[in-house]
Symmetry: D2
Subunit: 195 residues, 4 copies
């Protein structure tokens, strides 16, 4: 078993990119059941916040972080350096094309799909080892719906899903204000053990 | 029975002030059971969005809109003009002092209390007619807690409360994104019929 | 303009059927912009709670309440009697077949579709007058997704949508517990004014 | 660093007791920053679900699980046996009295306070080592409010808080229904490093 670092959001270098918030990162990684030594593919890695924590959890494993924006890849590198993480390989490109030639994986995380979710899920299925985990984060109705349709129709996969809405409490003087974060849906799938 | 206008948020003139959003406005006004002819006191009226809809509902009644910022009073006036509402009287001042000399009321709405909630609730109780309604909107833990403590301890009042969290669906191209709004708690109280 | 009654949930006769809760009923009806005199078609009327409040709002109009279960139709009749509402006609049957021979309508409410949403929306479009409103309540990912797809692709319709999650505050002794209700998505559409 | 097990809810033996759900358990434990070897005090341990996962995380440490109901203590023992966890000591009794004679701790978790929150927080402060973590789960307005008041006034503590609302997606045939869980507020505090 390996730990979830739970790094606070503000410690990541993020430019002006959207970033998966701490609570959702934590739940995504625990539902991905990351083990030390795991090979993890992070698709739509963005700032790399999820990749960094995954790499810390799988310290003897490796994270392949696919990101289609150059500024994203730079943020991943900057964060990897800041947190002294050496087992991340940023890959500039768009999935599923950028997934070609990748090794088989224990975990695939999908944070962004650029409208190619069906191809990416199909490609992830091919790369996933038996017993491997596929975890999709959805922030749109379409991704939520399509992720459920696609994964529930894959033979041998066990699928569970939940929506998480976090309200941070913001202290302003003696007041404690409820401050909403956008809800994120987490679709967590486990591939069957037999080929 | 009178209608709830349900004016869209973007139709109000609001400057850069925070504003109660449409869904919360609607629920607040229906829970206040506003009837035509009602005298309504709106405390912490802000942009006047709640006051405007209340005034439209109680067209033969009157809304007294207490607001401590001059810019707020100006927004209330501008919105009253825009929606051709003549039965609103903006009152520049802070409650509870600004509640002195007000007539007895059918409804008191509390949207902001400036840390004086206990005095305002006590003063509202004195102004409310038998059977009158007191509805408090809370966006902080302290206001929620104190509103419940204060109102539940007032003899003869029936109190109910709920929290409302709205996620607007934002259309961006073919995507429909979940977009969180801060939760608001609505504490709705009805004074007993007997003096 | 007409009022939203906002009847408390416990006042409806409901047997053991699920029922749209008060806050969602209120928002649905206000977003449907029901006016007195309106012809309203309520599809999947269930206990009739939405139909009853719509009928009270449109007192000189009429509500046609389609419900495919006999027990549902009986609940609608029982509630109509309890609230002395005479302008509701319960129709036993499944939409869209049960929508044949209905008059043109100002408002169509869809609370349940039995897997026939596309046909029901298409049929609703034919029945709706110019400027008419179509409001869909969704409690599943599929209905939310399909309702957005279908309505956003209908020429001349303006579509907005939001999710509403209510947490009732339950008083137990001196404690005030947060008590979740299932979220409901409201898809509100307005047909263009021109044919 | 140590892992968060993330045991599914249905694997715990729970009788008919309420239980902290998986997602909230995970976030509570990560925010408590449990390290292997930690001494952890779990107050209001209930079924022991939080204690079990904490004990697995701190395998060379120890969890002291205070629970005032005999049936609760029996559930903790049954779950400890089921998950082969040997580093939990259930303590039958009510806090703060049951906290007497306990060793100093790295982490105190408060899941239930029986109306004695102020005394329990004060007692936790005395037991916590410098740098130790105090994490309170609140399901009522009063606990949320009081936890914030108490912890924010303790010199040298850093306090953060958030509310978490999870909607599980329930698969019924081809439908995916949103199914609400009650929101839980997590107040996470870290004691200053210096005595």
């Amino acid at each position: 078993m390996v730990s979830v670092p739970g790094i606070p959001d503000e410690e990541f270098i993020r430019g002006n990119r959207p970033m998966t918030k701490q609570e959702v990162r934590i739940l995504t990684l625990v539902k991905a059941a990351i083990a030390d030594g795991d090979i993890i593919i992070d698709i739509g890695a963005g700032t790399g916040s999820l990749s960094i924590e995954a790499a810390l959890m799988a310290s003897r494993g490796k994270v392949l972080a696919i990101e289609r924006e150059v500024t994203g890849v730079e943020l991943i590198k900057a964060n990897a350096e800041k947190f002294s993480v050496e087992n991340i390989t940023p890959i500039l490109g768009a999935a599923p094309e950028a997934m070609e030639n990748l090794p088989t994986a224990d975990v695939v995380l999908i944070g962004g799909s650029g409208g190619r979710l069906a191809d990416i899920v199909s490609c992830s299925d091919k790369l996933l080892k038996p017993g491997g985990r596929l975890v999709i984060n959805a922030v749109t109705v379409e991704t939520l719906h399509n992720a459920l349709q696609l994964t529930r129709s894959m033979p041998g996969y066990r699928v569970e899903a939940c929506g998480v809405q976090v309200n941070r409490i913001h202290f302003a003087g003696s007041s404690s204000m409820f401050q909403a974060q956008n809800p994120v849906y987490i679709i967590a799938c486990q591939k069957g053990d037999k080929e």
